[in-house]
Symmetry: D2
Subunit: 346 residues, 4 copies
Amino acid sequence: MPAFINDYTTAAHPAVLEAIAKINRESKIPYGGDHHCALATEKIREATGCPEAEVFYLVGGTQTNQIAIDTLLDPFEGVVSAVSGHISSHEAGAIEFSGHKVITLPEHDGKICPGELQTLLDAYFADENLDHVVEPGMVYLSHPTEFGTLYSKAELSAIAEICRRYEMPLYMDGARLGYALACPESDLTLPDIAELCDAFYIGGTKVGALFGEALVFTKGNMPKKMLSRVKQHGALLAKGWLLGVQFETLFTDGLYKKVGENAISRAAELRAVLGKHNLPQAMNSPTNQIFVTLPDTMVKALAERVDFSFWEKVDEENTTIRFVTDWSTTSEMVRELDEALGEIGL
Amino acid sequence: MPAFINDYTTAAHPAVLEAIAKINRESKIPYGGDHHCALATEKIREATGCPEAEVFYLVGGTQTNQIAIDTLLDPFEGVVSAVSGHISSHEAGAIEFSGHKVITLPEHDGKICPGELQTLLDAYFADENLDHVVEPGMVYLSHPTEFGTLYSKAELSAIAEICRRYEMPLYMDGARLGYALACPESDLTLPDIAELCDAFYIGGTKVGALFGEALVFTKGNMPKKMLSRVKQHGALLAKGWLLGVQFETLFTDGLYKKVGENAISRAAELRAVLGKHNLPQAMNSPTNQIFVTLPDTMVKALAERVDFSFWEKVDEENTTIRFVTDWSTTSEMVRELDEALGEIGL
Amino acid sequence: MPAFINDYTTAAHPAVLEAIAKINRESKIPYGGDHHCALATEKIREATGCPEAEVFYLVGGTQTNQIAIDTLLDPFEGVVSAVSGHISSHEAGAIEFSGHKVITLPEHDGKICPGELQTLLDAYFADENLDHVVEPGMVYLSHPTEFGTLYSKAELSAIAEICRRYEMPLYMDGARLGYALACPESDLTLPDIAELCDAFYIGGTKVGALFGEALVFTKGNMPKKMLSRVKQHGALLAKGWLLGVQFETLFTDGLYKKVGENAISRAAELRAVLGKHNLPQAMNSPTNQIFVTLPDTMVKALAERVDFSFWEKVDEENTTIRFVTDWSTTSEMVRELDEALGEIGL
Amino acid sequence: MPAFINDYTTAAHPAVLEAIAKINRESKIPYGGDHHCALATEKIREATGCPEAEVFYLVGGTQTNQIAIDTLLDPFEGVVSAVSGHISSHEAGAIEFSGHKVITLPEHDGKICPGELQTLLDAYFADENLDHVVEPGMVYLSHPTEFGTLYSKAELSAIAEICRRYEMPLYMDGARLGYALACPESDLTLPDIAELCDAFYIGGTKVGALFGEALVFTKGNMPKKMLSRVKQHGALLAKGWLLGVQFETLFTDGLYKKVGENAISRAAELRAVLGKHNLPQAMNSPTNQIFVTLPDTMVKALAERVDFSFWEKVDEENTTIRFVTDWSTTSEMVRELDEALGEIGL
């Protein structure tokens, strides 16, 4: 049965597994001091066009968000996010658990609006008497967003400019960054992101790695004593080279790009299949997450033929479901979906 | 050059890597809900003789200690540990970072003494007016200890009895548990540990796994909402099956035991070599960490022939160094150490 | 110049100061173990009709909210509040600082709506897969609210019933509780509140005390080791009797009631004066906070004759200001306001 | 019955109470923005000879220690203290609760030894590989100590010099500072302390105030957003002027000095009485805390005639008790103690 459940169902791109196996018996310095981490960082510096980038490799996405935010903020500051942002809605309160308020803005297709951000910050910093209100200390956004949508270069530039004016870091959650970069609709390159953001992470877990995220600080702004702080968060991986070698591999011979491209191409095919069956997307996502709202009876029938994931109940009779593509999705799988949709009709 | 730096230098036992590769393309439920985690738990229940054991799989040791302690303690309680305990000395304050005091007892060969524990608890609980002093809420110990030493069954039983009397959990850090279990000098079996401790973890990172630790709750005492709490700590692995399949493999066909036995056998050979060269152990460790104090000149000469790790400067002229064996250590490597020691003389 | 700035401008009702002075040289047990605290608790038990009430005396409002919420919640839980609730908007992130998310509901005249609360809780607890979302662990409301409005007995009963069904504590912030109790429009008595809420605090700082709040647990549910937990929060007052003697005094001969009544009577006079000048209230507050929106020119002119507080800028030309009455407000002061409004006209 | 229980039994010096009563009806700016706080700060600047001193007024001692340490430290740093220091032993873990390790040094008459401090810091900062060990970020000491002993100017200077070299703040807990300053044996003046320490607090609660501590930053080093941070800790007093007016009073006409002098003079008389009865001090305290070890039978007999406090059980037959003097202790009370000792004999 073809599976479109998510992009962390099948584990790693085979090249990643092979690279790990290849260096298994090497003797390596622990805690990220090894040469694979160094090589990965060199390659990321090149790919981002940011020779001074500092990279810290971590295991997972919530961990990376929590550590980036907790170490970039002063203890009394909060982080601004769309109300639909992952840190606001789906990380079990990990940001608040580390002591910081998530200050929410409305979401528009999962994105924050530069104008609303500016209004929020203007209001806070214009008033000298806001000691009883949490100070916004940084801006969080995800790209692609939780709804698969993308910021344009103009949008990200506008947000970055506001952040610069208020001297606060702009941080991008790139859990699925590879799919944004491979998307023909996107005009944002990795060097653009490195220039506009003060920190961001290049997601590995959902983009071909076995696991791991590369947290990049682009402005000489990696918090001091970072290794100790990561250790305090319980997040320091003894065998740090496991992370290094994966990103070294992903950024060799364009593998990260290829992983993204396969998912995006298959997603395009999948969208075409949905269109053929007159099923409009529930969200305007150009990336590897495709949402569609169907009658519950059809959801049930489809579930017997294809694996997908439940997103949310829309009303008493309809449900939004999600299809996700990744490095392992094939055109054959999309064809099977086409057939399944044909069989169950509407 | 033969390497005895530590037991997390070479990555995983080949069988572990193969198992991961084998299931790479399987579609699996994320966050630990998969059948590999379930199978691993079945095997651990069997190996511990504890059919009701609950197991949560985590990525690293400090993370496991922090989460076990933070979720087993009430917010106002502290954890009792030997002053040399890993949580007290080498985890960058991760326990205090999560809000809890580490209440220290003296160390004796790295171990806590049941009598001193009893005196501490008697003093605290006899006095009704200790609201200004941190309440001891659990006991932490490591087995083997940070010095490679082992608790006897009598010692662990005495400590467990005190904990029962004061109704506080006894928690064992088993980062290197496999080496304790494989040690002929030890009379403590895995079922003994499961019976005497309320929680402990079976170390994978240092005992043949690529990474991962299995946190075991033996008395139906896994904290409620554990998955959310792990997520809040930033420690929930999306691809939880990576942990499940590793422990499934380690507890199939006695692999965990074999990994321990190879290290212990090579350590015995290594100790014999040291004895032959009249080099007494600096600590009375029967496990896979072997400490020896040498003149600095000899340390320098040896370092050109063998990889080991620096432990501590003893005085102006002498240094304690550490040799560690693991699944990948061979008798040939020990012979090379023998030759190296012969060449440099004393 | 008559002052209506707030209800913590003039310090304490004279009877409170006299009571403190009277016992100054008594030798008293520290940390709340004295007989004045015991007497105050007896009187509060009587006034609340709740003989089993447990009372902990604290210094200030944010402190009381932070401690009540942090000790009633499990570490992984969040607190539900109106978005306008004090803990959500004006406590500098003190709740998040202690690790808990404030889960917001819309405000209706500063209040939460039972139906919306039920929808939120139904959605959370109906779904078994919400481990990545913060669990609502208690409900916070203020009475009077931040806008001076009041819950009816029917509204509070509906909310309490929902909380009971989901077995979560209902907590009331009573910073200005005395003004609610003295308000003729209110049908909620102190015994009603004690019956419907699991915990609430009787505000002293803003209701005639020099400082201090009485945190009441009504269901035998005071968290264990409360004194230690308060100490950990840095909130344990060495001279606890200072709090005890104040509440003993406020609950003797109906002083707390009298303080409330004077403020409410003066507020009624003040509202009449505003009505006479055709100035409608900006919020429908029946208590001691009166909001009115005026043209900026009028605000400026009025500020030369009367002290009030700025609330918020409404638009380019208008501002909402706030008048507050308390135990020290006199009818003469209201008459002066009347004259001032007459002089400046509209 | 004469009472020597502690210096927070009788509440405030009458002049302090009168000052509060006098300004009760004044209209004052809340949260410390009032002119009494400003005046108090002026007077403290004068008394400390430190015109640039910044002062934040807080309610209690543990609160002040917790906030000073948490705001002066980076989140990853710990605070060095004598093992007998109040923050290490008697604050219910308030420092660890705020995330910081208390790094202990041995105590010598309750004091830390400059040489041992230097060894600790040298060892930490000499080694570049201590990322897994908590970084010492500041030094805490109390003056007088928990045992009533005092640092000499030479000792404090030596400690301050070490702190300067390592660029870490030196912080003094002055809960009983008034008694140190009034002690003829002490060569440390308030200007000395302001010069040598980076922050310290002038204790009010135990030195004549109703309550309150003045936290002084002497080097332009008050943490930014201090008011918000204090609010986050739940420690911001709405009626901040209550603190201001008390310190204004204590630093007018030498009241703080007089309070200290009375206690020290009465303590000298008390020590003479003990000497007359051949009762040697258990600790070498020259200040207002006097410790003496007596047979349990004598403790029991004395307790029927005089109020004192229990300190610790020394052995099966003897107990150390403590006498404390303050502004309200009279020579008559000491004479009554003399008689009581005479009556019970030895």
